[in-house]
Amino acid sequence: SSRRSSFPDEVLERVLSLLKSHRDRSSVSLVCKDWYNAERWSRTHVFIGNCYSVSPEIVARRFPKIRSVTLKGKPRFSDFNLVPENWGADIHAWLVVFAAKYPFLEELRLKRMAISDESLEFLAVSFPNFKALSLLSCDGFSTNGLAAIATHCKNLTELDIQENGIDDKGGSWLSCFPESFTSLEVLNFANLSSDINFDALERLVGRCKSMRVLKLNRSVSLEQLQRLLVNAPQLAELGTGSFSEELTFRQYVELESALSNCKNMHTLSGLWDAKGIYLPALYPVCTHLTFLNLSYAALRSDELAKLLAHCPRLKRLWVLDTVEDKGLEAVGLNCPLLEELRVFPADPFDEEIIHGVTEAGFVAVSFGCPGLHYVLYFCRQMTNAAVATIVQNCPDFTHFRLCIMNPGQPDYITNEPMDEAFGAVVKTCTKLQRLSVSGLLTDLTFEYIGRYAKNLETLSVAFAGSSDWGMQCVMGGCSKLRKLEIRDCPFGNAALLSGLEKYESMRSLWMSACNVTMNGCRLLAREMPRLNVEVMKEDGSDDSQADKVYVYRSIAGPRRDAPPSVLTL
């Protein structure tokens, strides 16, 4: 066939190399074969949202020039112990292929993957240009693996270890960075609990002049923090260590002075066990802060209020519910630019707690912060009217995650289901991408979601709904849905199968403790061969019940590394 004159490949590749968004790149690759090829040759970063949707060989075949990989593994509910320990998502097979095909790999960002010390050692010695390692919610490794990274990765710029199930064998790994090593820009070991060699850390920070992110663990004291800051005033993000030991007046003044020299600091976290009396030391930093993470500091409302009076530019705030509604009122009063709020419960399993936050706090924030678009809110009571007010004040929500902690709890004033609350959310917030629902909910909630939430991509449901109809509404109405996770809902086979045509356009579906049976799953697997339908059985459950179901699209076929507890249908 004749070819009209078009861009030379080199020009097209050059243009496409400027495209960063992987979604844009996916769109580009679908235009025509030439563009598909130009795109694949120019792609340097690949994002794989489900490690089992594709194989490392397929990735390497399509994209020859990758330098940076982001991989996500286990279903999100593994964060809450709903996934068996040995489920899979092991990185090693990927590393072996990468070592062969991408010897110049520079970055690896993993989320919910299993990674062993052997894999970390293999990584450390296989990629001479390796620069950035980020591990989020991963497990299977110990600090020995970190020692291997520190020892061998001569060009490392980033070591970010967050929220992992790490076997902390001690802090000596940090001393493994050679004295000649100066390239580190990001160091986050806040997750680790054991003491590190502070002298080694001090020297490391002192010689890494480009360091911009430093997140310490709890073992680092205030006095030690001051010594570090004196040598690193250029820091943009700081996670303090423990914020509570006794300081002399002189030590306090020195700390305040060191902090006030950090003119670039925009993110502050840590503040473990923060004592209210030392918080004023932070005031000079607060003026420029855009992200303040207080979720490890059990502050009272008055302590928070005093602090926030100095944080006019705050865009993101994470707090514990110890600040109560009064603390949230202070948020509304002091932080007009706020875009994201997360309120975590300090005592999540305590039924009798009469503190924490209520609907009043959330409403107060919504009045003061019209730009709010991301919220994660744990509370013990909520009303439909409050949520309606909140979204009226803040119509731009993209992420609305409300967790009323007692399962199936109604509007505590009217005793009605919370259907109208989430109805208001989806009707008003047209940009909504992510929604987590809670409280007593009937199928009406899901009718609303299916009818109005046209941009919804991620939906999390627990202890909700009345019948299959609820889930059918969602599957039929939410055209952009990509991730659906459901637990403890009365949705059965009819609901599961209503999404038959939809699952190939989604990343995954999770259903646990619902009414789905093995036969329903077998039917799905039979009708849709390009889906992997996996069932995890609980001990002692009925043979016919599909206790936990995980369905996802894959071009790699059924996985071969599933443990015995995971049945692939």
């Binding site: 809450f80 199930g165 300090a346 039924e351 009798e352 403790a513 009414n515």
Partner: protein
């Protein structure tokens, strides 16, 4: 005479069932003394408790909040002579000795808080009791004691649930939580359900005859 189990760390749900006019308190004293019950229930009036914990009298005397749910369990001294046997369904549970230290949830994985964050809370609870609010040692107690996971099955519902009974301090809070959990599977009229359990010999007993 009816003994209603509301004698736990009080929540609105439970205390409504506690009817002082019904001589419930006297009966309790007969059962082995308020002292023994207090110790079992987690200590209200015990002098050794941290003083910010509410006293028994304070907890029950001042309670005026309106309660929403009815008590689940109604039984008399002779459990087999209740009026309305026909409609009663059973919620049964058997102990299994699963001691996964990670799973200290009342309902597994709920509320949805990451494991590492829960560990941090527990560490903080132990190290720094908060001053000026009602002290609650529940998390600290759980940290020291093993979790005891039990499976709960409701008659007529296929799915078994798993809970850690170490997190409950009374039969009432346990059954309330179970009713909520199972409510989605069956329309649960709370009055229709009784809690039974299987002891070491394999016998099924009605829960509540012996102190928690």
């Amino acid at each position: 005479m009816e003994l209603q189990l509301g004698l736990a760390l009080p929540t609105p749900n439970m205390v409504k069932g506690f009817d002082l006019n019904n001589h419930g308190l006297d009966q309790l004293k007969e059962m082995g003394g308020l002292e023994a019950w207090n110790k079992a229930a987690g200590c209200f009036a015990d002098k050794d408790c941290v003083k910010s914990k509410r006293s028994f009298e304070q907890a029950f005397g001042n309670f005026t909040e309106e309660c929403r749910t009815k008590p689940l369990l109604l039984w008399s001294g002779q459990p087999n002579e209740e009026e309305d046997h026909q409609d009663q369904k059973k919620a049964t549970f058997s102990t299994t000795d699963e001691n996964d230290a990670e799973e200290d949830d009342q309902v597994v994985g709920w509320p949805p808080i990451k494991t590492w964050r829960k560990k941090i809370f527990q560490q903080q609870q132990q190290q720094q009791p908060r001053v000026g609010r009602a002290e609650n040692n529940r998390l600290a107690e759980n940290e020291n004691g093993r979790s005891i996971h039990v499976k709960v099955k409701m008659e007529g519902v296929a799915i078994t649930r798993k809970i850690d009974i170490k997190l409950y301090h009374s039969y009432q809070s346990l059954t309330n939580s179970l009713i909520t959990m199972f409510a989605k599977d069956k329309k649960c009229d709370e009055d229709d359900y009784i809690l039974t359990y299987q002891d070491k010999e394999g016998d099924w007993l009605i829960a509540g005859d012996i102190p928690w």
